[in-house]
């Protein structure tokens, strides 16, 4: 496919690998966090860690949308499906996340709940229109990439006067999560997770632009390079980060200039602002309760807010015993450091959310690089 295959070209990859090895200084370590789950997936899938110099380390961040959704929120969705008997529509990955009592939405379906996988919010709208006698709830999750599609669906539902459609909104904000990583005592404490820079997300940045990262570059002196989601994009972004570190710069640079502008997608941002407002605080898996880190539906669109319509409460629930998802999402542990990894917890039988989605750090490690990718895939 055009503009995809070129960004996976092996010959260019070898060139970039050489350039990267030449650029790193042997007398120091480089630690970069890839914020986005899409990058975690690409890094594992294309064996990028195996191409990196020994002293360059990638740390997985909290940007896997399914992973950061806390159990209590899935419990609410289960309540909607099992007790309120609504038709619950959501993206595929969410359905497999175990909640309280290890029950997932998929298992709820086996127990007779009407849970449906949708590819897009458009599918959920279609279901609501076709089945007017059903209460249809879309379980919305994700960062700034999935928020505009949810906003578009709510506005369309309003335009159509759909009375049986509502949204259980769990949309969260990337800058808030980055700030929490940088403010985390574990990260601040010297020697735990010293970060030298961030690989900025691809899809998220197409919407929010490069501007929101400037704060991190200035305030925390951390370079940010926004990267596309193909392997060469990631390699190039790492090279640009190394150069910034070597030169003592901390700037926002944009490797994904073919799709990311400074201000992002104004139309999508305006739509989000019309439909959503900030929540005062929101509970994240792994990161805890973060102020102004998530969105809720505005008063004007309240008729479409499942939380109000079904008077949903929120009850925090601790993660499964032994599961290290929280520490993994903060970048302080690696998947292989979890005792359950690959034995008790596998993609077929996940214990925590990080083993569910292909963007989850545990699932990505399990699928593509069990053992040490570095030793197995050394490329000269």
């Amino acid at each position: 496919m055009k503009y995809v295959d070129e960004f996976r070209d092996g010959k260019l990859a070898r060139g970039l690998t050489r350039a990267l090895h030449a650029a790193v200084r042997p007398d120091r370590h480089y630690r970069f966090m890839e914020f986005c789950g899409g990058h975690t997936h690409a890094i594992a899938r294309y064996g990028i860690e195996g191409l990196l110099p020994e002293n360059l380390h990638l740390i997985h961040g909290p940007g896997c949308p399914v992973c950061v959704l806390p159990i209590g929120r899935i419990d609410s969705a289960l309540e909607l499906a099992l007790e309120r008997r609504v038709t619950l529509c959501t993206y595929a990955d969410v359905m497999r996340v175990p909640a309280s009592g290890r029950m997932s939405l998929l298992q709820a379906r086996a127990h007779g709940a009407d849970v449906r996988m949708v590819y897009s919010t458009l599918d959920a709208l279609r279901i609501a229109r076709a089945e007017a006698e059903r209460e249809v709830v879309f379980l919305a999750i994700g960062f700034e990439t999935t928020t505009p599609p949810t906003a578009a669906a709510i506005r369309q539902a309003a335009a159509l006067g759909l009375e049986n459609f509502s949204v259980f909104c769990n949309h969260v904000l990337t800058p808030a999560a980055i700030a929490s990583i940088l403010e985390s005592p574990e990260v601040r404490k010297l020697g735990t997770v010293p970060l030298d820079g961030f690989i900025g997300p691809a899809h998220v940045s197409t919407v929010i632009g490069s501007q929101p990262y400037e704060f991190f570059a200035e305030e925390y002196r951390k370079p940010v390079v926004i990267a596309g989601f193909e392997p060469l994009d990631v390699m190039q972004a790492i090279l640009m980060l190394v150069q910034q570190v070597n030169e003592g710069r901390s700037e926002v640079e944009n490797e994904f200039s073919r799709a990311v502008t400074v201000t992002g997608n104004e139309k999508a941002k305006a739509l989000v602002a019309e439909v959503f407002e900030l929540r005062r605080s929101f509970d994240w898996r792994g990161l805890g309760t973060l102020p102004y880190s998530a969105l809720r539906i505005k008063q004007a669109y309240r008729a479409f807010d499942a939380e109000t319509r079904f008077a949903l409460g929120y009850c925090p629930v601790p993660d499964a015993r032994g599961c290290e998802c929280g520490a993994i999402l903060r970048g302080v542990r690696r998947p292989t450091e979890c005792r359950l990894f690959g034995t008790v917890c596998t993609p077929e039988n996940p214990i925590g959310s990080c083993m569910v989605s292909a963007e989850g750090a545990c699932a990505a490690h399990y699928t593509y690089s069990r053992g040490d990718a570095r030793r197995e895939r050394r490329v000269s």
């Binding site: 070129e6 260019l12 060139g15 970039l16 050489r18 458009l122 505009p148 596309g228 073919r258 739509l271």
Partner: protein
């Protein structure tokens, strides 16, 4: 993914490696047939800038030491 057909109601058909897919253009502006878009959960999130794509590929080649000319 390339837009191959514009439909009614802000919908469009894209070609995804030989497969035709219906997507929404509700979140983007001024997309025409032939344009490439970044797609996510059934919606185009952004139009792809082909000049920038070429520039990035040139950059890869330059950093990779393959001697392709780079823009100043």
């Amino acid at each position: 993914m390339q837009v191959v057909e514009l439909g009614p109601g802000e919908m469009a058909i894209v070609d995804a490696g030989g497969v035709r897919k219906e997507i929404s253009l509700a979140l983007v502006e001024d997309v025409a047939v032939g344009d490439y878009v970044i797609l996510h959960v059934g919606y185009a999130l952004q139009k792809l800038d082909e000049d920038e794509a070429r520039r990035t590929l040139e950059l890869f080649a330059q950093f990779g030491g393959l001697g392709a000319p780079a823009a100043p």
